[in-house]
């Protein structure tokens, strides 16, 4: 078991990335009961936004200095696309049967992929993304943190703290909770619920961009299809943690990340299961975990019972 600490640290980095994306699903769902299946593409677009900034900056600017601008550029791109999607794709369908926005989301997802594929220079194949590279930090003898993992390990908790504080303590955050719990009554209090919905999409977009930069740093490349599996995993994390709950989304992400990493390390050591371990099976184990949790705790780890929404 000497790999255990390393497995936990690597899983934590992957999980924090999933968690950042899961926040976007869970916030939008919490407020409008819509699964924004195009959210994975919001992540992807943010990655290309960040890459564009890097390419604009002179090559002499070190990555560490470029990173804040890349985050800003990525966030602006993701937020713009997410709020435009809300305004023009989802808002007109607010009174429609649930299937309509769902199909719209899938259509939007394909459209966004194809727009990047067709119009972003050289996006028909993967584009390389800058990395810090270099030696991993040695924490103790058997725990190493890759330099490019460090970003998400710092950014995710900071984002989470800021969001938690905003939702719990600010006037707008309270309006957001009120809208999630009872939208009509929130309007009677003077809350412009349309604006709160836009805000939920915008926060999700900003977090998606942070996740996209984290993913680019880790993988050293981004591509127009990256949003699909990332989105699916993060949606799994949001459901796992209890959809509608922001802390649940992060917890679900971390649990999923660790489980996925552990599955590649340990399952092949179980006698008779050699063929079921390794990287190729990690997605399978992630979804097995989801199924097991939903069987035991349908509302997710931190979810509240639906009957509560009276």
């Amino acid at each position: 078991m000497h790999e255990l600490p390393q497995t936990l640290v690597s899983g934590l980095a992957l999980g924090a990335l999933y968690g950042l994306i899961a926040i976007g699903y869970t916030m939008v769902y919490g407020i409008v009961q819509l699964i924004n299946f195009a959210h994975g593409e919001i992540v992807m677009i943010g990655g290309f936004g960040a890459l564009t900034i890097r390419l604009w900056l002179p090559g002499s600017v070190p990555l560490g200095a470029a990173l804040p601008l890349m985050l800003l550029g990525g966030a602006l791109t993701s937020v713009a696309v997410a709020t435009a999607a809300e305004r023009f794709a989802y808002r007109p369908l607010r009174g429609a049967p649930r299937l309509a926005p769902l199909i719209t989301a899938i259509g939007l997802s394909i459209a966004l992929q194809q727009i990047v594929w067709a119009f972003y220079p050289d996006a028909k194949k993967s584009r390389s993304f800058p990395q810090f590279g270099g030696d991993a930090f040695e924490i103790t003898g058997n725990i190493h943190i890759q330099r490019d993992d460090l970003f998400v390990l710092i950014a995710a908790p900071l984002c989470m703290l800021a969001l938690g504080f905003f939702v719990a303590k600010s006037r707008t955050g309270r309006a957001m909770q009120a809208t999630a719990q009872d939208p009509d009554t929130a309007r009677l209090m003077g809350v412009n619920t349309d604006r709160i919905i836009v805000l939920a999409f915008a926060i999700g977009g900003a977090f998606a961009a942070v996740a996209a930069v984290a993913q680019g740093l880790r993988a050293g490349q981004i591509n127009f299809e990256m949003g699909f599996i990332l989105g699916l995993k993060a949606f799994t994390a949001a459901v796992l943690g209890g959809i509608g709950n922001i802390y649940g989304a992060m917890l679900g992400g971390v649990v999923l990340g660790i489980a996925e990493t552990a599955s590649t390390t340990y399952i092949q050591d179980i006698p008779g299961m050699q063929q079921l371990g390794g990287g190729g099976w990690k997605d399978v184990w992630a979804f097995v975990l989801l199924i097991v949790v939903l069987l035991v705790r349908p509302q997710g780890l931190l979810g509240e019972r639906v009957a509560d929404r009276a």
Partner: protein, 240 residues
């Protein structure tokens, strides 16, 4: 006591899809008055209040509040004009604390000091709310939730307070307590539009009453007149 017309409703018609729930009603609320709408379930009372506060859009007719037309103005802007609505079924925010619920009632106000004072006033009016200020509102009993809903509606310092079925589902003691509070608010000069199924209690308090039947106003009069009207006594006060 009673002053100028604060709320004027004229020929108001409201429909859900093709079903017309309110078929042309007119009534007026003067400053300082308590006006009540009574009637059976489905008469259109709640629909009327939801339209006045902007949650529903009327089919036809006009609503003037404080001298200006408010038809078509979104709900979140109507409360800013001084029209507060405590909805049927209380609708407190269950996972927010009692104090946070009250603060949301003052969402559009900027005077922090005044808000703090008014929260204290709500606690004076309903001491149980003060004792449980930090508790999630969903843990309150039905009657306590009603107190919170009323306290929350008062937090916007409304010119007109609309109360929809404040006594619904409450024990007789709690119902008495709520009605006493409404009487106190009236004595302090609060203008109230009250929808109630407990016609006896509502008419006793009201300056003006309107009896709604399937989307129309069947009968109007002062509270005392309606209380002594034979058909009202038969239909709504359980006498024969």
């Amino acid at each position: 006591m009673t002053g100028t017309a604060l709320l004027e409703v004229k020929d108001l018609r409201i429909a859900y899809g093709k079903i017309e729930a309110v078929k042309g009603i007119s009534f007026t609320v003067h400053t300082g008055q308590v006006v009540t709408l009574i009637g059976t379930n489905g008469a259109g009372k709640t629909t009327t209040l939801r339209t006045l506060s902007g949650l529903l859009t009327p089919l036809a007719g006009t609503i003037h509040f404080d001298g200006r037309p408010i038809t078509g103005i979104p709900a979140h802007r109507i409360v800013a004009l001084g029209l507060a609505h405590s909805p049927e079924g209380r609708h407190i925010f269950p996972r927010l604390t009692i104090a946070e619920n009250l603060q949301l009632g003052a969402f559009l106000r900027k005077d922090t000091h005044g808000i703090t004072q008014d929260i204290q006033r709500a606690y004076d009016l309903f001491p149980i709310l003060g004792e449980r200020a930090k508790q999630a509102a969903g843990t309150l009993s039905g009657g306590e939730q009603q107190m919170l809903a009323m306290g929350r509606a008062l937090m916007s310092r409304p010119k007109l307070l609309m109360l929809d079925e404040p006594s619904m589902g409450l024990s007789p003691i709690m119902m008495q307590k709520i009605m006493t509070t409404i009487a106190e608010l009236k004595a302090n000069g609060t203008t109230i539009l009250l929808v109630e199924q407990n016609a006896q209690a509502a008419l006793t308090l009201a300056d003006q009453g309107h009896v709604m039947e399937t989307g129309t106003i069947a009968l109007s009069g002062t509270g005392a007149e309606l209380l002594h009207n034979e058909s009202v006594r038969k239909a709504y006060l359980g006498e024969d």
